[in-house]
Structure formats: structure tokens, C-alpha cells
């Protein structure tokens, strides 16, 4: 097992390396650089641009160097000093901006994933063992709704209902007095009061997919002879179901947790733009439109890295849960 994990980690490092190159190329794709879009926005406001000053700034950010030099400097800074470059639009080091937002995104995605599973697994099992019952139909319909409704639309619906029927403004993760405040117990409680809405929305989507997987897999397993054998040996029905077929039916959960996480992160990104949450979403969007390349690149890289680590975790989980998979 240890060897397997080590080998997987060893594969992960070049993958992360390639991802960092890819993200750097992608954020360099737009024509021009931060300064050209900055100059354009200044010009739109009617300000005069000093070409010499632009040249000085270009020099300072290293934008006049070839792309591979810029990349090498960036990645070297990250590896040696934990320095993710400078956010050009906000004039602060990227590392001061990303961690809190990434942490909140992670909390949001992981909690939604777990909440989704806790609802999806029992409901899916019930739905499969009571196929074509009323509950099964309701559950199936709801899971279709969850798949059909993207999180950001659901976010709009929740805003609409909260606004029209409860007179609430939904949005943000903190009350205004806590946004800039340092972390304290009160701030955590305030966060909990706000974060449940996006969690509920994301978990609804996650539940929908999970329900379908559980139900379909369990239906396949229930027809297999070993279930019949277990039953004929006189095991209690609950034990027959939960001990064997459910365990097998849950394998896809573990094998897809990495991708599921990627989906959730994507959904969370859109949702946080709609609800204006203090997570990575809105800041990534701004960074992308302003061509603030180190900020956008760092977010893209970290989001992909999370998925890669998530895939690793899911492989290890699967190997641990399903003894038929041996570490090859």
C-alpha cells in the first residue's frame, strides 16, 4: 500500500508541473497584457497615458521578457519562496489574496460533497430496494431536477424566493462588519449563518448525481447471485443489502471523488459569482477579465491541483475500500 501511494505521488509531481505550464500558457492567450487592458480602461475614463510610465511598469512586472522567462521566474518564486507573484490590478502579493478564498472554496466544496453523499446514499439505496414505488419516482424526479438545474440558476431561484417571500437579501459569506475583520469565534458563527445556503444549493446538485449512481449500481448488484445466496442463508434483509451490494455499489463514489470535486469546484465558482461569495469565483472572474495574469494563473493552477490531489485521494480510497483492486 505504501509503495502504491508513493508511486502515485511520484506520478502526481510531473502532472502538476505540466498543469502549471498549461495554466501559464492559457492566461497568456489573450492578445496584449495587463498593461494594455489597463491602459484601455484608463483611456476609456479619459485619462492621458504616459508612455514612459507604461514602459517602467512593463519593466517592473517583467512583461517585456519572453514567456518562458516569465514562467521560470514565476514557478521558481513559488517553489523557493512561496511567492506567487504580484497581483497587478490590486497591487498586493497574490499569496495574500488567494489562501483565504481558496480555503473558503474548499470548505464550501468539501462540505457540499459530504452533505450530498449523506443524503444520496440512503435515499439511493431506498429507491433501488423499492424500485417503482412512489418514493422511487419522487426521488428519481428530484434527481433529474438536480441534474437539469445548474447551481447558478438554483442560486437565482433561491435569491428570488428569499427576496420575494422572506424579504431577505441572500449573498456574501459574511455580514458586512465581519468581511474585513480578523478571524474570531463570532466570525466563524457568522460564516456558518451564511454558508449553509450555497452548501444546500451545491449539495442538491451533488445529491442528484449521487442518487442516480447509487440507484443504478445497486439495481445491477441486487440481481447478482451472491445476494440470493446471502438471503437464502437466512441473513436479515437489512444486513443482506447493506453489508454486500451497497458496499460494491458505492465504489464509483470513491473512484470518481476527484472528478466530482472538479465539478463541484466549477459549480461553486459560478454560484459564488452569482451570490457574490468571498470565495475564489468572483476574484478569478475579475482577474481573468483584467488580464491580471499571476492572480488568475495562481487560482487556475490551485484549482487544478486540488482536483489532481482529489483524484489521488480517490484512488487510494478505492484501493482501500475495494480489496479486489490491487496496487498495480
Amino acid at each position: 500500500m505504501l509503495g502504491y501511494i508513493l508511486r502515485r505521488v511520484a506520478i502526481m509531481i510531473p502532472t502538476l508541473f505540466v498543469i502549471s505550464i498549461m495554466t501559464f500558457i492559457i492566461i497568456q492567450l489573450p492578445p496584449g497584457d495587463f498593461l494594455t487592458s489597463y491602459a484601455a480602461s484608463l483611456r476609456a475614463q479619459g485619462e492621458v497615458i504616459d508612455e514612459d510610465e507604461m514602459e517602467v511598469m512593463r519593466e517592473r512586472y517583467g512583461l517585456n521578457q519572453p514567456i518562458y522567462v516569465q514562467y521560470a521566474k514565476w514557478i521558481w518564486g513559488i517553489m523557493t519562496r512561496g511567492d506567487w507573484g504580484q497581483s497587478m490590478s490590486l497591487q498586493v502579493p497574490v499569496k495574500d489574496l488567494i489562501w483565504q478564498r481558496m480555503a473558503l472554496s474548499m470548505v464550501l466544496s468539501v462540505v457540499s460533497l459530504i452533505v450530498g453523499w449523506f443524503i444520496a446514499i440512503p435515499l439511493g439505496v431506498y429507491s433501488a430496494t423499492h424500485q417503482y414505488s412512489l418514493v422511487d419516482y419522487i426521488v428519481t424526479f428530484i434527481s433529474f431536477m438536480g441534474i437539469g438545474t445548474p447551481s447558478f440558476l438554483l442560486g437565482l431561484v433561491v435569491m428570488y424566493v428569499a427576496m420575494n417571500y422572506m424579504g431577505l437579501t441572500v449573498g456574501g459569506l459574511f455580514s458586512s462588519q465581519y468581511i474585513m475583520a480578523p478571524w474570531s469565534w463570532d466570525k466563524v458563527i457568522d460564516l456558518a449563518k451564511h454558508i449553509w445556503i450555497p452548501i444546500a444549493i451545491l449539495a442538491f446538485n451533488g445529491t442528484a448525481g449521487g442518487l442516480r449512481t447509487t440507484r443504478a449500481n445497486l439495481l445491477d448488484e441486487l440481481n447478482k447471485p451472491y445476494v440470493e445466496t446471502a438471503r437464502s442463508k437466512g441473513l436479515k434483509e437489512g444486513r443482506v443489502i447493506w453489508k454486500y451490494p451497497v458496499r460494491v455499489a458505492l465504489n464509483p463514489f470513491f473512484s470518481t471523488v476527484g472528478w466530482e470535486l472538479a465539478n463541484l469546484i466549477g459549480g461553486a465558482t459560478l454560484l459564488s459569482i452569482v451570490l457574490n461569495l468571498q470565495t475564489e469565483g468572483p476574484m478569478l472572474l475579475n482577474a481573468l477579465t483584467a488580464q491580471d495574469m499571476y492572480l488568475a494563473g495562481s487560482f487556475l493552477f490551485l484549482l487544478s491541483a486540488i482536483t489532481v490531489v482529489g483524484t489521488l485521494v480517490s484512488d487510494i480510497l478505492l484501493a482501500w475500500v475495494d480489496p479486489r483492486i490491487r496496487m498495480t
Binding site: 495554466t23 489573450p30 437539469g148 459560478l270 452569482v274 481573468l288
Partner: protein
């Protein structure tokens, strides 16, 4: 009475016989027919695509018809009975706009003096049908000048454009981008997945690593980055194709995985072996023997991929990175609707959301039904 049990036996025998001689296509159709939700969804989707194809004719107005007279106007009330209790063919009353003296918000009231009957095939704003010939015939309308009175089944948006018209025009882009994106991913998926599954070995290994790599990058942030790279000055059509390319850039991976899995499973089948022994070329084995046997399955997978594409386009346009006005797609319309004020005051600008959700649901049901039908021999 005594021979009653005999009839079902006969019937059963007949059914057995029918099943025995049925072609796979017939059996698929029988199985598909049993999936009620899928059948209803098919009808609904055909309806939506017809709307999209004939959007200029179906919609009572044209998308660039902004009007200060109808800013954020609520849906028109279609009436059958007038104030005096007399019955008529469907009609609307003249809408009059006044302003709230305090908030300056537009208030719309009906003037029951003037009645406008709704006409089928009436004249309306001029348009070019499919960009080919000019006409002003719409499916329905009032047949009077736009500024005089309009019939707006779904109300109007902030700049006074008819929401029904916008939603129907949006359908053209939103529904077609799904198909184009899927067609592109299918092409790439079949070729790459086929190579991977057919040859196996080092090529397979390499392609699988590439696929895993692409899938490990979260799609939405990746799409956001790629579409942010599109120059703002590009014309609508160019952006439209660029967006479908971006969407299929990740979409082909799942297609390729499915195709590869099928190829791998089928490589071991007896009929492939016998084809090979009788001297068929590789190309012939793939095209004549393999592809038809998993075609139905691929169609089902494709159907499930379309709604994903539609949702992706909507999401991207919604956050302002996909299509932009003057393009009309459901995502663009929702982006314009997106603020708390419009949620509270003019909820009808969210009709495109209803269109998105119902289309996506219908595609999911249809795909589900097709997937069941694709394997008519199961259970």
C-alpha cells in the same frame, strides 16, 4: 367463460412470435415507447427545435425592437370577455403607461375603451426569414404598429424588448450550440477513442494519460480562462464557433473514453475475430462491424452530452465570458436579468431560465430512454 384463460396464452404466443422476428430497431422502438417521460420529452424537444428553426416567424416581434413605451412591461393579459361581459375572440386592451409620481417607476394600466383582437398570420415588424427573403408576416400579432400596441405573452425586459421573442430567438443559438459542440466532441472522441481502443499498448496508454490530464482540470475555470481570451471585437458568429470549440475541447474526453471502452470489449468478440479471419481490413472491421454495434449506445451518450453543452454555454454567457449582446442566447438574456431588482420587480425576465431547465430536463429524460432502448436485450 371457460375458454377465457386460453386467450392470453394465445396472445402470449403471438407476442413471443412477434418478438422472435422483430428486428433490433423494432425492439428498441418498443422499449423506448415504454419510457413515457422520454416520449413526452421527445415531443417537447421537437417543439423547441421547431421554434428555434422558425424563430423569426413564430415570435411576434424582432429582437432589436427596443421601446421606451414598454420598458419592463408585465405580460399582456389575453382576454376572452370584455368589461361588459361580452365574449370575443382572444384580444388585449390598449396598454397605457404612466409614471408613479414618487418613484418614477412605470405603471401599466389597461384602457378598456380600445380592444385589439389577436390575429393569426398578422403583419408585424419586418424581418428577413432565415436571412433570405424579407417579410412581415408573423404567426400571431395584433396587426397594428409596434408603438401603438403589442401583445407580449411573457412581458418585456428592461429596454422594452418582447421576452417571448427574445426567448425564442435565444433558443436558436442555445439549442444549436449544444448540437455543434456535441458533433465536434463526437468527431474527436470517435477518432481518438477508436485509435486508443483499437491499437492498445503504448498509444492507448499515452492517450489515456492525456485524457486524465484534461479531465483533472476543472472545466468551468478552464472554460472561463479560455473564453476570456477571446478578443472582444470578434463578430458574434466567430465567438459562437469559438465557444463551441472550447466546450468540445473537454467534451471529447468522455466520448473517447466511452468509445474506447466499447472497442476494448468488442475486440474480444467472436464476430470480430471471424471478420478478421476472413480477411477484412482494419478499416472495414471498424466501420462495418464495430461502429453499427455500438452506434445506438453512442447516440444515447450523445443525447446526454447535449444538455451539458447547453448548460455550459448558458453558464459562460451568464457570467459574461461567453456570447455577448447583440447575440441573443438564453445565457445572454439571463445575464441581463441578473440583479436583485429584476428578481423582485420583473420576474418574467427569467423565462429563459425556465426554457433552459425544461430543455435540459427533456434531454436528460430522452437520453435515459435511449440508453435503456439501446440495449433491447437486457432484462
Amino acid at each position: 367463460m371457460t375458454n377465457q384463460p386460453k386467450i392470453p396464452v394465445d396472445e402470449e404466443a403471438k407476442i413471443e412470435e412477434k418478438i422472435a422476428v422483430a428486428t433490433p430497431a423494432t425492439m428498441m422502438w418498443w422499449k423506448f415507447r415504454k419510457h413515457k417521460a422520454a416520449v413526452i420529452s421527445t415531443v417537447f424537444l421537437v417543439f423547441m427545435y421547431l421554434l428555434a428553426i422558425f424563430c423569426e416567424f413564430v415570435s411576434p416581434s424582432v429582437p432589436d425592437a427596443t421601446s421606451a413605451r414598454y420598458m419592463s412591461a408585465p405580460p399582456s393579459t389575453i382576454r376572452l370577455v370584455d368589461v361588459e361581459g361580452k365574449w370575443h375572440a382572444p384580444f388585449v386592451y390598449l396598454t397605457e403607461m404612466s409614471r408613479d409620481p414618487v418613484t418614477r417607476r412605470a405603471i401599466y394600466t389597461e384602457n378598456t375603451e380600445v380592444r385589439y383582437p389577436i390575429k393569426l398570420f398578422s403583419t408585424g415588424p419586418a424581418y428577413k426569414f432565415w436571412g433570405l427573403w424579407e417579410t412581415d408576416i408573423h404567426l400571431f400579432g395584433l396587426g397594428v404598429a409596434d408603438e401603438e400596441q403589442r401583445v407580449m405573452l411573457l412581458g418585456a425586459d428592461r429596454v422594452g424588448r418582447d421576452m417571448l421573442t427574445m426567448t425564442v430567438y435565444g433558443a436558436r443559438i442555445s439549442l444549436s450550440i449544444g448540437l455543434i459542440g456535441v458533433a465536434l466532441s463526437l468527431g474527436m472522441g470517435i477518432v481518438i477513442g477508436g485509435i486508443s481502443g483499437f491499437y492498445g499498448g503504448a498509444i492507448d496508454n499515452f492517450i489515456q494519460r492525456v485524457i486524465e490530464f484534461i479531465r483533472s482540470i476543472p472545466h468551468i475555470p478552464l472554460w472561463m480562462a479560455l473564453s476570456a481570451a477571446l478578443p472582444l471585437e470578434w463578430p458574434v458568429l466567430k465567438v459562437y464557433f469559438a465557444i463551441s470549440m472550447i466546450l468540445s475541447l473537454t467534451g471529447w474526453t468522455s466520448m473517447a473514453r466511452t468509445v474506447r471502452g466499447r472497442f476494448l470489449a468488442m475486440r474480444e468478440e467472436d464476430f470480430i475475430l471471424s471478420a478478421r479471419l476472413t480477411g477484412s481490413s482494419e478499416g472495414r472491421i471498424i466501420l462495418v462491424h464495430m461502429v453499427p454495434s455500438f452506434l445506438s449506445y453512442i447516440i444515447a451518450i450523445l443525447t446526454l452530452a447535449v444538455p451539458y453543452m447547453i448548460l455550459s454555454e448558458t453558464s459562460l454567457s451568464f457570467i459574461g465570458l461567453g456570447l455577448r449582446a447583440p447575440a441573443v442566447s438564453w445565457g445572454v438574456l439571463l445575464a441581463e436579468a441578473q440583479n436583485v431588482r429584476s428578481i423582485a420587480l420583473t420576474p418574467w425576465v427569467f423565462w429563459p431560465a425556465v426554457a433552459v431547465i425544461s430543455t435540459v430536463l427533456a434531454f436528460n429524460f430522452l437520453g435515459d430512454g435511449l440508453r435503456d432502448a439501446a440495449d433491447p436485450y437486457a432484462r
